[in-house]
């Protein structure tokens, strides 16, 4: 069952791109909007979960956990249950959830309602980062419109199913994207991670079974329900089913978001979609996945966007970003910026991360300025080794991943900073100019 407009083949999330009035209920209905919800209500929860399992959909928030499997963890017969929609998008280099909210807000809401019905959740909370204020207001309007049209609230579309949808604004804290910190924040507390297990599916919001899903994950559901899980899976490869919205930024000619089939597309394809490296310069390095992930080099450009292939290359697709760096980039400087970010965003709950990011940052500033000794550089590596795997949540671990991978791949560049009194990369560029 397709919408009235013909849609481009191979696209899911952005298949209605350019249709007029998509942010309004009327416009979204014109492209077949909310038919997926109607279909879902006929199918019943179990059939939806089966379709989502068949789709092979894996979470798009970063951890890539299979969505159908996660849903299956909810304990039988325990109510109320909640759905928390993760719209906290704060990973450096990521802006895809923002696009999905700004351009396709009803598609997201339809996905939220399908998931809520499949899970039999009484409430869905859309937790959106504080900086997305305009986007929060748009979502609030979309939800109000849907309430008026009886798509949200009691007896949705005349069925027995009811669900309240609440748009909830965060207030500036990257850690609130971590699912258990998000739940604490949603409960009106400081957003700090909880000990797992118990996982949110068992004991989540207010101690009740809760599923946390990313905006992009949920935005796929209208398609999966109408076209079938198998059709969705077939868009990608067996190991990496479906499509994904990648954010390409940095030193490219045309930064932006691009929906591409998984597994069949390579980093080089993505780079080309974004117009290639800007200003006719040479490619130096890229960071896939967002600020947390390891650096890759030119030798990895032909790696496909496949979970395993990227893991074998030593990094991860994370939250779907690709930050491109040209030949003028100083890898020490980039590392310092990311380390500063983690220092700023560490929630302070555990010692390795709170203290580790502080020392990391101090040492990286000294190294960038060419003031660090070889001993200090070795200390930096020690500190990172002491953090990775020893932090309470992944934030502290990932605070070491980029810098350590860059140190391995660009060791000469790091070493050249030692005792140089200035940044040697910049000095070299200055001399060349």
């Amino acid at each position: 069952m397709r919408g009235a407009e013909p849609v481009p083949d191979g696209l899911v999330l952005t298949r209605h791109q350019g249709a007029p009035g998509l942010t309004t209920l009327e416009g979204y209905r014109k492209v077949g909007g909310y038919q997926g919800l109607a279909r879902a209500l006929e199918m019943g929860p179990e059939a939806i979960v089966a379709e989502v399992k068949a789709s092979g959909l894996r979470g798009r928030g970063g951890a890539a956990f299979p969505t159908g499997t996660k849903w299956g963890f909810l304990p039988q017969g325990v109510f109320p249950r909640y759905l928390a929609v993760n719209a906290d998008e704060s990973e450096p280099g990521c802006f895809k959830d923002r696009v999905l909210i700004e351009e396709y807000p009803h598609q997201l809401l339809e996905g939220v309602l399908i998931a809520a019905f499949a899970l039999q959740a009484s409430h869905a909370f859309i937790y959106i980062r504080g900086e997305y204020r305009k986007q929060r207001e748009l979502l609030e309007e979309v939800v109000r419109e849907a309430y008026r049209a009886k798509l949200v609230g009691k007896r949705i579309l005349g069925s027995d199913f009811g669900c309240e949808v609440v748009v909830h604004g965060g207030a500036g804290a990257y850690i609130c994207g971590e699912e258990t910190a998000l739940l604490d924040s949603l409960e009106g507390r400081r957003g700090q991670p909880r000990l797992k297990p118990p996982f949110p599916a068992v004991k989540g919001l207010y101690g009740q079974p809760t599923v946390v899903n990313n905006v992009e994950t949920l935005s796929n559901l209208p398609y999966i329900v109408t076209e079938g899980g198998a059709a969705y899976a077939a868009l990608g490869t067996e190991a990496s089913p479906g499509t994904r919205l990648f954010c390409v930024s940095g030193h490219v000619a045309r930064p932006g978001t691009f929906e591409v089939p998984m597994g069949r597309t390579t980093f080089r394809d993505l780079l080309q979609l974004a117009g290639g490296v800007w200003r006719g310069r040479e490619f130096k390095a890229m960071q896939p996945g967002g600020g947390s992930m390891q650096v890759l080099g030119p030798q990895h450009l032909d790696v496909p966007l496949d979970f395993k292939a990227v893991a074998d290359a030593g990094s991860s697709l994370g939250a779907g970003a690709l930050v491109v760096m040209d030949e003028t980039t100083c890898m020490v400087e980039v590392s310092r910026r990311l380390v500063d970010f983690y220092r700023h965003e560490s929630c302070g709950k555990c010692v390795p991360c709170r203290e580790g990011t502080y020392f990391e940052s101090q040492l990286m500033h000294r190294l960038e300025e060419g003031r660090a000794s070889a001993e200090e550089l070795a200390t930096l590596a020690d500190i990172c080794a002491g953090m990775d795997g020893r932090c309470f949540c992944p934030l502290g671990d990932t605070a070491t991943w980029f810098v350590m991978s860059a140190y391995r791949m660009f060791k000469d560049e790091f070493d050249a900073h030692v005792g140089a009194g200035h940044c040697p990369v910049r000095a070299r560029l200055g001399a060349a100019a």
Binding site: S90, E91, K134, V166, S185, G188, R190, S249, H344
Partner: protein
Amino acid sequence: MPESEVDASSPALAPDTLERLRELRSRYPVARSAVLPALWVVQDELGYLPPWAEEVVAEQLGLLPGDVAAVASFYSMYFNHQAGRHFVQVCLNVSCALRGADDLLAGLREWLQVDEEGASPDGAFTLEGTVECLGACGGGPMMQVDRYSYEDLNLDSAREVLERVRDGAGGGAGA
């Protein structure tokens, strides 16, 4: 404090704001969940969160004032003091930095003649650089002015935006 105890001389929230607080409380299965949204409503009215206003939120939601203060202090977007009339942040994370965010910030600092705290002399702006990625990496360098983000900036276009905002005509054009 209950409304009955508010005398004319003590600061108070607008009746609209109080109404919104009551409405927010009823949206959640547990009232405490309304803390963040409630603080937003109050900050939207006052521009920052003075202790007396945190007390009102605590009272409304049945919490201790210390609970509310502890929450407010955790989140970087709640202000405990009055900043410039407009809050400007330039993202200095990687994607924006690769496209010249440092120069943009330096240029704006000089142009606005901000002091060490980032305040412009006319009180119109508080300007700061932030390592927090603001979710507009495809449009770097970018700045967020109050609720809106402005992208693909250079010093000239950024100055134009801020001039419009200072004249009270800004906002709408951002994303």
